[in-house]
């Protein structure tokens, strides 16, 4: 399962990623909104863990753009 974590607090993102990797998932991390939007455009993810208050592109914007594409996305 491929997961994207969009979270600007680095330690928190890393810890969540580590926990999910321990459970056998493939995890990507985006530390800001632009990176998250780019990764969502380029790659396919099964799960999106999204922080709302992201620098660059706001989490709400990313959510509206990705909601149509990936019905399995889950928001934090």
């Amino acid at each position: 399962m491929k997961v994207l974590i969009a979270e600007d607090v680095k330690r928190l993102a890393d810890d969540i990623a580590e926990g999910l990797r321990d459970q056998g998932m493939a995890v990507d991390i985006a530390y800001d909104g632009s990176d998250a939007a780019f990764k969502l455009d380029v790659y396919h993810y099964d799960v999106l863990v999204l922080d709302r208050d992201l620098p660059g592109v706001h989490g709400d914007t990313i959510w509206t753009r990705s909601a149509g594409r990936s019905p399995a996305a889950a928001s934090r």
């Binding site: 607090v9 330690r11 928190l12 810890d15 969540i16 580590e18 926990g19 321990d22 459970q23």
Partner: protein, 454 residues
């Protein structure tokens, strides 16, 4: 010997005391009344002084003229018969006696005139004094009108909404200075209140991130594959417990800030009894765990307000009543409506409480002796959140230590205007949605006043 100042004060209060003794209700001693009385008294005193001066001057003038010669021929008239009989016309003594008689007659006439003048003046003064009291009443009312307007405007400004201003218009006089001073004070107060609320809300929000980081780290570490040493497992459980408590505290801080700041949002009319029943249901697990007998009496109470906050208010009261209850104790919730207000009463049995310290329980972090932040007895914000929510809805919260032990919390809120909100509501439904129900009359800690219901 008595101090002269209290003696004078007693004298001033004498009319009030006499009025109380005779069962009379004296008017409130307002500034307007006092100004009117002062104005009337001053007018009366200056009028009386004027009369005295006039009297003295008239007497002086009259004496002077009476002695200097006969100046009141109109008062002479014909000489009396005894005078003409005694002294026939032409006798040498006649003119002298006649002159004496004329002078005496003249003095008497003047005295009568003066008396008449004084009497008439006194009547006129009394009439004018009455008129001046009326004029003084009107004048004092006009002079104090800006003050009354300012009082009304200031009363409309509450701690929940300090944005109102007196905005006194008119010439730059003492009243406008007072209004402007109060306005600037309000502006400073509002800035301070806003800063405090923003700080609490922001701090609570910002603190959530590091807490989330800690929780994630701990949970990720605990979920690592393989068996963790027992001391690590214990550490994880302790840290998680601490984090849970910090989360609850922060959530309560945010609720408190929201209650003080945002209660005006999303107003709707709800039934307080229904809210209390729902909250009682949500706490059914805890009620069952402590084997508490819970009972609710719904007398139909509609309120308009923020539904989330009102639910939180009822929930906190119920949770408080469960937490500070004895095992196998009782808990009773009553909602009722009166003419203009609705009441939510949450009562519980339990240990004896100090009536003096119970009054302070609505202050943040105020607990009764023995409770500490780290205990299982909550965050210390529950009742202050209730007080803040009640305050934001223009109500009042009263906490009483029950004489038989336990706490009685009474929330009074303004009743929702007729015709708004949910229509049908049971007039007196008795429900026991949670816990093993039992009539409160059977419970030993049941209050005597309200024990015979249901």
């Amino acid at each position: 010997m008595d101090n002269p100042v209290p003696a004078a004060l007693r004298l001033l209060r004498a009319p009030r005391r006499l009025g109380q003794r005779w069962g009379l209700r004296l008017p409130r001693r307002t500034v307007r009344l006092r100004l009117t009385a002062l104005y009337g008294l001053l007018f009366l005193a200056s009028g009386a002084l004027l009369l005295v001066i006039l009297n003295v001057a008239a007497h002086g003038w009259s004496n002077e003229n009476t002695q200097s010669g006969p100046v009141c021929p109109a008062a002479w008239g014909r000489p009396p018969r005894w005078l003409t009989a005694k002294h026939p016309l032409g006798s040498p003594a006649f003119p002298k006696e006649l002159q004496e008689w004329q002078t005496a007659r003249c003095a008497a006439a003047r005295a009568a005139q003066l008396n008449w003048l004084m009497e008439e003046s006194a009547f006129a003064l009394a009439g004018m004094a009455l008129l001046s009291v009326g004029a003084g009443w009107v004048m004092a009312g006009r002079a104090l009108r800006p003050l009354r307007e300012m009082t009304a405007a200031a009363q409309a400004i509450s701690a929940d909404d300090l944005s109102g201003r007196l905005a006194v218009t008119g010439p730059s006089d003492e009243m406008k200075d007072l209004g402007d001073t109060i306005d600037s004070l309000l502006a400073r107060l509002q800035a301070a209140f806003d800063a405090q609320r923003r700080f609490v809300a922001n701090a609570s929000h910002e603190l959530r991130t590091p807490l989330a980081m800690m929780r994630t780290s701990v949970e990720v570490a605990a979920a690592k594959p393989g068996q963790a040493p027992p001391q690590v497992t214990e550490l994880v459980s302790k840290v998680t417990e601490g984090l849970d408590q910090a989360d609850r505290l922060l959530e309560n801080f945010l609720t408190l800030a929201r209650a003080q700041y945002g209660a005006k949002e999303s107003q709707e009319t709800i039934s307080l009894g229904a809210v209390a029943a729902r909250m009682l249901g949500e706490h059914s697990g805890e009620i069952a765990a402590k084997a508490i007998r819970a009972q609710q009496e719904d007398g139909g109470a509609q309120v308009t307000g923020n539904a989330t906050l009102l639910a939180r208010m009822a929930g906190n009261l119920i949770s408080n009543a469960i937490r500070h209850n004895d095992r196998g104790g009782w808990l009773r919730i009553q909602t009722r409506a009166s003419q203009a207000t609705v009441h939510l009463t949450v009562e519980n049995g339990g240990g004896m409480l100090d009536p003096a310290s119970v009054k302070e329980l609505a202050q943040p972090f105020r607990r009764l002796a023995g409770d500490r932040t780290g205990s299982a007895h909550g965050t210390g914000l529950g009742l202050s959140i209730v007080a803040a929510i009640v305050g934001a809805h223009n109500g009042s919260l009263q906490l009483h230590a029950r004489p038989q032990g336990g706490l009685r919390a009474v929330v009074e809120l303004p009743r929702a205007p007729a015709g708004s909100g949910p229509a049908a509501e049971p007039a007196a439904a008795v429900t026991a949605p949670a816990g093993p129900a039992a009539p409160p009359a059977a419970s030993p800690g049941s209050p005597a006043r309200t024990g015979a219901r249901a």
